[in-house]
Amino acid sequence: MTAMCDVAFLLLSFFILATKTKPPEAVTVMTPSSVSTKIAKENAILVTLTKEGKVYLMLGDKAKKQAILEDVNTTKALGLSPAEMTKLRKMEFIGMPFNKIKSMLQLPEPMEPAKMEGIPVIDTLHNELTDWIGSVVRSYAGESLDNLNLLVKGDNMAKYPAFKLVKDAFKKNEIFKFKIVTNPEGVPADSELALNPPGGAPAAKEEK
């Protein structure tokens, strides 16, 4: 009895400590899995792609958020007042077309992300994400682009063309490196990767 009690409370303390309070996600996205073991960094510029094909932008880099939003306000002539800018800065998800941002901010209650229509990425010509990423890149001007932590979080069921347009928006801004948020997954046993882990013995060269 005492032993069982001890184990139970050990487990309890383990789970309490291991639990990380996760902020509730306003937009549900089921990410695909990959064998990658790198941990997704926090405070990223995150592009979310939902299964309906809606695109949201999250500016996780607090230091740059202000600069990015101001750059968008001037370049896209949104005509936002300082009060509206503060409101916009408080929003976690950005997911409205440029021409509807002002009217959204004038609503008495902040709009729920699920009700937003998403940043329009219809085709190569109507891709507002390109402009958003452009502002992001400008805010990192003078810095190495390695500091830009750009993540794409897509839903399993999102269609490929939507993802392609997101990639196009990055490419147009000369960004060729980004990361995809995935769920960790075990490397299948007796696969090439499991037999020759990167950084291990240079066994791969034997194949030449």
């Binding site: 409370f9 064998v35 269609k159 990055f170 769920n183 696969s191």
Partner: protein, 182 residues
């Protein structure tokens, strides 16, 4: 469960007629605490998300029409992602005459062996996988196929995503109809 042991068993024996003196026990009933403990355990077990998301790196090539990569026909495998998690593939170049014979269907379970067999049969310098995604392919498919490349340890630079041609999407449509995939 945890019961209080109030009997003074194992003590010195008292004679008949001698009244037992009741000792105040120092032991507390633990049952409610244990119950609560297990309740909390179940709660935390269910709410814990053990896996933190990982990040997969993507390196896109720069689109440069003057700098097209030339690859050997013998080392090329083209993987096409269709709808309903189907994968189609062909080796080399599609010949205009018997394209449909070259064109084979597969799925994400079997494609690993196909990738691996080709990798083993080809000198590493000539090896090239071309990935093309159909309009109906999902984001999951696009990530899964890149993950397959990682699982099969195909070195970076030996696989690339390319836009699908009309002939290929026609072939996919025909194969889908023949295989009854909706």
């Amino acid at each position: 469960m945890a019961e209080m042991d109030t009997s003074s068993g194992g003590g010195h024996k008292k004679g008949p007629g001698v009244k037992k003196t009741k000792k105040a026990s120092t032991r507390v009933d633990l049952t409610p605490m244990v119950d609560l403990g297990f309740l909390l355990i179940t709660f935390f077990v269910f709410t814990t998300t053990m896996s933190t998301p990982t990040a997969m790196s993507m390196n896109e090539p720069k689109d440069d029409p003057n700098n097209q990569l030339k690859v050997k026909n013998s080392g090329v495998t083209t993987l096409l992602l269709g709808k309903n998690d189907q994968v189609y593939y062909y080796y080399g170049e599609l010949s205009p005459t018997d394209a449909s014979a070259q064109f084979k269907s597969s799925n994400f379970k079997d494609i690993r062996k196909i990738i691996l067999d080709k990798k083993k049969a080809t000198p590493i310098g000539d090896l090239m996988y071309i990935i093309k995604s159909d309009k109906e392919a999902t984001f999951k498919n696009a990530i899964d196929i890149l993950d397959e490349m990682a699982i099969n340890a195909v070195p970076p630079g030996h696989y690339a995503e390319v836009e699908m041609s009309d002939t290929e999407s026609q072939l996919i449509k025909m194969t889908e109809q023949a295989n009854g995939i909706k």
